[in-house]
Symmetry: C2
Subunit: 229 residues, 2 copies
């Protein structure tokens, strides 16, 4: 039995797509939602799609959180800080929080092709300030679009994984690389999340302008940069 | 005879690489430098490399500027505003200024994998404030690395072209697409330059971390997004 991964906000398109892909890869997933029933329905839908062997369940966000030590945040930025404050007592010491959040200006009625300035530098760095001590934050997967995650076929996108903890980077690289098509690359310190988050806004702008579902690839990297040991 | 293109700061690695590639594509290039002699030497070196038919000359930056109406800025950020103020009387009305500048923190002794905050949002938007009225600024080519431009073979990199003037975007897309390997894509308004500039810092970080010369590609775009009409 794998240690379970809680996908918080996992009934939204990004979280659902990630839960689906990771369950397909054989990971044990707990979908978290404000509403336990909605989370259970989403879990049932994934089981229906990929078969009864899938290890997927649903729970209210705090319950999901306290049952896992690998957490994926897939909630809109406007609910981000509030949820983290609420989850704080439920987050286990030693957990890894993978933050996929992008502070889109759409959170405050602006455009999804622009970002808000976050005092700490990025949504992920804000998360690092809000989690209990001893919990590691990793920024990743912001640029793997919900459309591509929910479609069939490989996700044509590289994932940069950023954290101040090198071993957490390796854990999350190993996980992200289980999504077909994804190359998971060490992206350096958590502070680089500010650039990853803005790339999402850029991709959304390209999607609107060119009627597309875009992703990003990095050229010129040696194979060692995306091999998983 | 093509209208000449002035590459200001064209004796530095980025400018020299761009001048080389554009001259190879048959464009008429004036390399600009603070020092006319250095500019002429760089021009002679390009002629030596690609043959006597190459249309390349060298001049002091202001002289280069007043002889062209397509200008490429390839100077380090620390000299950016000063040069633009100096060039202002020499820039012809109706010119297009292609800004490749990235406000790297290295400009003030910091890291090349971090950027400075620019009040206007980006170096290119600062440029838009400093050029005479009636001159159009286009942000492009920040992510086409000097190493790849100066190497042989195609440049494995997409170029987003951003401006508030759609016809200038088309002009610069047509130009950038002459560099082998480059797909030149409409990147929207000039305000998006802030993201393109930060991507350069991200690529520099990847280059250091993975001992590579990286570039970016966008996946999922329809061919119409990078076809040149």
């Amino acid at each position: 039995m794998n240690r379970p991964i809680a996908v918080l906000g996992g009934t939204g398109p990004e979280g659902y797509g990630l839960a689906l892909r990771l369950a397909q890869a054989g990971e044990a997933i707990i979908i978290g939602s404000r509403d336990a029933k909605r989370a259970q329905d989403a879990a049932a839908k994934i089981k229906e799609k990929i078969g009864p062997a899938a290890q997927v369940s649903g729970a209210e966000n705090s319950a999901a959180c306290s049952a896992a030590d690998l957490l994926v945040l897939t909630i809109p930025f406007e609910g981000h800080a509030t949820l983290l404050k609420q989850l704080k007592p439920a987050i286990r010491p030693g957990s890894i929080v993978i933050d996929t959040t992008v502070p889109l200006a759409a959170s405050v009625g602006g455009r999804a092709s622009r970002t808000l300035g976050v005092w700490q530098g990025s949504a992920a760095q804000q998360t690092a300030e809000l989690v209990p001590k001893g919990v590691t934050v990793v920024a990743a997967l912001q640029n793997a679009s919900a459309e591509l995650l929910n479609a069939d076929g490989p996700v044509d996108c590289d994932v940069l994984v950023c954290s101040d903890d090198p071993s957490a980077i390796q854990t999350v690289r190993t996980l992200a690389a289980k999504i077909p098509g994804v190359r998971a690359i060490d992206g350096g310190k958590l502070e680089n999340a500010r650039i990853l988050e803005q790339i999402t806004a850029l991709l959304i702008g390209l999607n609107i302008r060119h009627k597309a579902h875009t992703g990003i690839r990095f050229t010129g990297l040696p194979p060692a940069a995306y091999e998983i040991k």
